[in-house]
Amino acid sequence: MGDRVFSGLALLAGVAILITLAFVAIFLSFNSVGAVYREEEGLILRQFLEYAYPLVIGTLIASLIALVLATPVAVGVALYISHFSPPRLSKSIGYLIDLLAAIPSVVYGAWGMSFLGPALVPVYGWLHQHLGFIPLFAGNPSQTGRTIFTAGVVLGVMILPIITSVCREIFIQTPKLHEEAALALGATRWEMITMAVFPFARAGIISGVMLGLGRALGETMAVALVLSPGLLTASLISSGNSTIPAEIALGFPEAPPGSERQAQLIAIGLVLFVITLIVNMTARWIVNRHKDFSGAN
C-alpha cells in the first residue's frame, strides 16, 4: 500500500514536470506564431531566421567562453577540495566556493559592468595589438570592456560553483576501494585520480557541466548588464553580439502587446529551448555510450 502510494507520487511528480513543460512549449509556440507567419505575407520564416541566427551564435559564443573558462577551473577546485586540501579544511573551503553561487546574478551583472569590464580594457587593447591578425581579436578593441568576452567571463564565474559543487560531491563519493587499488599499484596521486576518480565521476562531471551550461544559456540579467549588444562579429574584444535571453529581457518590456516584435521575442525563446534540447541530447548520448562501465556498480 505504502509502496503503491509512494511510487505513484514519484510517478506523478515526473508526469507533472512533463505536463508543465508541455504547457511551456505550448505557450511558447502559440505566442511565437506571429514571428514566422503574417496574414498579408504568409510564411516569413526566412526573415525570422535572419533575425535569429546572430543571436543563436552569440548565445553559443558566450556559453562556450564560459564553459571553456569554468570547466577546468571547476574540476580543479573540486579536486582540490576532495583530494588535495587538508581534510580538516575541505569543508570550509567548499563553503567558500559555494559563496560564489550565493551571489545573485544582478550583483554579478553590476560587478561585471562596473569592475570587470573596465579592468579588461587594457587586456583587450593588448590582445588586439599583438594578436589582432586572429579574427577573434580583430576589430576595434572596446573602450568600455562591454564585450561578449566579458559576458563570457562573468557567466564563467557564475557557473563555476555549480560545476564545482556537483563534481565535488561525486569526487568525494569515489569508492575508497578503487582509490586504494590504484595507489597500491604504485600510482601517484594524479594517476590515481585519472584511474579511479575521473572514470567514476565521468557522468557526474558531464552532468555538472550541462547544469552549468544550462545556466549560462539561460542567464539573462548578468549578460544584459555587462554586454553592449550589437551586430554579430567574430571579434571577442569589441562590442557586438548578443544572447537570446538578453535580447528577450531588453526587448520585451517595450514590445507592444500582440505585436510581431513580441512574437519574435517569444519565438527566439523557443529557439533557445531547442538549443538546450540539442545540447542535452548530446550530453546524454556521451554519458550513455559508456553505461556498461558506469561507476555505480
Partner: protein, 259 residues
C-alpha cells in the same frame, strides 16, 4: 629482485588510536610469511603499513622504522609511490576498476610506467597474468567486458592478476582467498608458491590450513581487548607455530582450529 622486510618498533596509529604496537619482525626475501590472529587484532592495519597504504587514510600515521632491504621506507624524502610500486597489494575485498574492461584492469598498473607496448606484448601480459590467477579460461572470451560483471571470486582473481602483472618485489595479500572457492584457492596457492621463487610474499589469512600450506614463517597477532593495541605475539617457523608454539596465547589460538 625480491627484498627482505624489517620492522623495528613499529607503532601504527589511527589518529590518536594506537592500533598496532611495537612490532619487530624480519621477513626474509623470497619467502612466504603468514599473519594470523583474531579479527580486529590489526593484521590488516599492519599489512597496510608495509607499503605505506596506511597513511592514505586521514590522520593515520606510523612510528618506528621499516626497512626494505636496508632502506627505511618511512625515511625522509622517500616517495610512497616508489614504495608502492615495489610492494604490491591484494585487498580483502575484490576491487577491480569498474570503468575498465577486464583487459584494462590487468594492464592498469603496468601502464603506469608509461612504457609503450605493442598489442601483442600487452596480450601476452594479460594472458600470462590471468592464467597465473587461474581466471583465463573463464574470461578469455569477454576481455573487453567490464570487470564488475564477474562474480566475487572472479573479481578477486582479477585483482590478483592485476597486481602480479606489475611484477613488484614484495606482494602483500589481505585474505586474498576469503571470497574464493577451493579450486581457485588452490590455484592461487600454487601461484603463491610459484611467485615465491622470485618475490617476497606476506599473506593475511584466517584459514590456518592455508597458512600451514603456503608459508614458511607465521606471525601470530593478538589483541588484549577492545581499545587496546594489537601486538605481534609470536613469530617463528610455520611448523613451530602450529605444532610447538612457545607462547600460550598462540597455543590457545591454534588449538582452537578446525578440521
Amino acid at each position: 629482485m625480491s627484498k627482505s622486510i624489517t620492522a623495528k618498533d613499529l607503532n601504527v596509529y589511527y589518529g590518536d588510536f594506537l592500533a598496532v604496537e611495537g612490532v619487530n619482525i624480519e621477513i626474509a626475501a623470497r619467502s612466504v610469511t603468514a599473519f594470523i590472529g583474531p579479527s580486529g587484532c590489526g593484521k590488516t592495519t599492519f599489512l597496510r603499513s608495509l607499503n605505506r597504504m596506511h597513511e592514505v587514510l586521514p590522520g593515520a600515521r606510523v612510528e618506528g622504522q621499516l626497512l626494505l632491504d636496508d632502506d627505511d621506507i618511512y625515511g625522509p624524502g622517500v616517495d610512497p609511490v616508489t614504495v608502492r610500486s615495489m610492494v604490491g597489494m591484494v585487498f580483502q575485498r575484490p576491487n577491480p576498476f569498474p570503468t575498465m574492461s577486464i583487459r584494462d584492469n590487468v594492464l592498469a598498473g603496468y601502464r603506469l610506467n608509461g612504457a609503450r607496448m605493442s598489442k601483442s606484448q600487452a596480450d601476452g601480459i594479460v594472458e600470462g597474468a590471468l592464467r597465473g590467477a587461474n581466471l583465463w579460461n573463464e574470461v578469455k572470451d569477454r576481455l573487453d567486458k567490464p570487470g564488475s560483471g564477474l562474480s566475487g571470486g572472479q573479481q578477486q582473481r582479477l585483482c590478483i592478476a592485476r597486481t602480479v602483472a606489475v611484477k613488484p618485489e614484495v606482494i602483500l595479500m589481505d585474505e586474498p582467498c576469503s571470497a574464493l572457492d577451493p579450486i581457485s584457492t588452490l590455484a592461487i596457492e600454487d601461484l603463491i608458491s610459484e611467485l615465491q621463487k622470485e618475490y617476497t610474499i606476506v599473506i593475511v589469512t584466517h584459514n590456518m590450513q592455508q597458512a600451514a600450506r603456503v608459508s614458511q614463517k607465521t606471525a601470530f597477532f593478538n589483541i588484549a581487548g577492545t581499545g587496546k593495541p594489537g601486538k605481534m605475539i609470536e613469530y617463528a617457523e610455520t611448523s613451530t607455530i602450529f605444532n610447538n608454539p612457545t607462547n600460550q596465547q598462540t597455543e590457545r589460538y591454534v588449538s582452537g582450529k578446525f578440521g
